[in-house]
């Protein structure tokens, strides 16, 4: 299994440009997440999804959009990129255990985005 894959690994955007960060998982996990991590900091949740067709906002959703049309894919869309969105973006997935609780999260390798 490839686990969680993210593309691209690096990207430089100009202010006002748009882009989509791709995330795919092959573990049949129903939960998927997008985080951003600023230098030396922990992870802040942008959006998450509990299944295909269902998405919800996290702690810092402004300036981002997501969609979940399939179990495997959870793309993150940046519209009108701003310097404040310079960060490393991580996608993660998790599963429900037998008690219906989501547990361990499996992370992708990240996308390093710079907006200038």
């Amino acid at each position: 299994n490839a686990g969680v894959t993210q593309t691209p690994k690096f990207r430089i955007l100009k202010i006002g440009q748009s882009m989509t960060l791709q995330c795919t998982q092959d573990m049949n996990h129903n939960y998927m997440y997008w985080y951003r991590q600023d230098p030396g900091m922990g992870l802040k949740l942008i959006y998450y999804s509990v299944g295909a067709g269902i998405t919800d906002k996290g702690e810092v959703p402004n300036g981002y959009n997501v969609s979940r049309s399939t179990t495997e894919d959870f793309p993150l869309r940046l519209e009108l990129a701003a310097p404040s969105q310079t960060s490393v973006y991580f996608c993660a997935s998790s599963y429900l255990n037998s008690r219906g609780e989501s547990y361990e999260q499996y992370f992708g390798p990240g996308t390093r985005l710079t907006v200038t």
Binding site: V4, Y35, L45, V50, G58, E101, Y103, F107
Partner: protein
């Protein structure tokens, strides 16, 4: 909003020394996880603790969940350069569908 505070934020020690990293909150969590993140990579799960007072060992790493399930600690014995990385704690409350991450402890073990 649930917050997890980690301390210290930075820690630099010599190979062979022992260390403890703390993760504290005023909120109760149904489970707490510890992740390690190496430069240029995503976090990788080390352990999950779910019972108050629980202690789990992973080779030289010992994890403890507080009795009240509001705090946790990670103790590393005889640290090695390979232990270098960002250590993140993450908690889940019973009703939440996502984790709350701490700000992390950046550990550097010098040879």
């Amino acid at each position: 909003t649930q917050l997890l505070e980690q301390s210290p934020q930075f820690l630099s020690i010599q190979e062979g020394e022992n260390l403890t990293v703390y993760c504290n909150s005023s909120s109760v969590f149904s489970s707490l996880q510890w992740y390690r993140q190496e430069p240029g990579e995503g976090p990788v799960l080390l352990v999950t603790v779910v019972t108050g007072g629980e202690v789990k060992k992973l080779k030289r790493l010992t994890f403890q969940f507080g009795d009240a399930r509001k705090d946790s600690s990670l103790h590393i014995t005889a640290a090695q350069p390979g232990d270098t990385g960002l250590y993140l704690c993450a908690g889940k409350s019973g009703s939440a569908r996502q984790l709350t991450f701490g700000s992390g402890t950046q550990l550097t073990v010098l040879p």
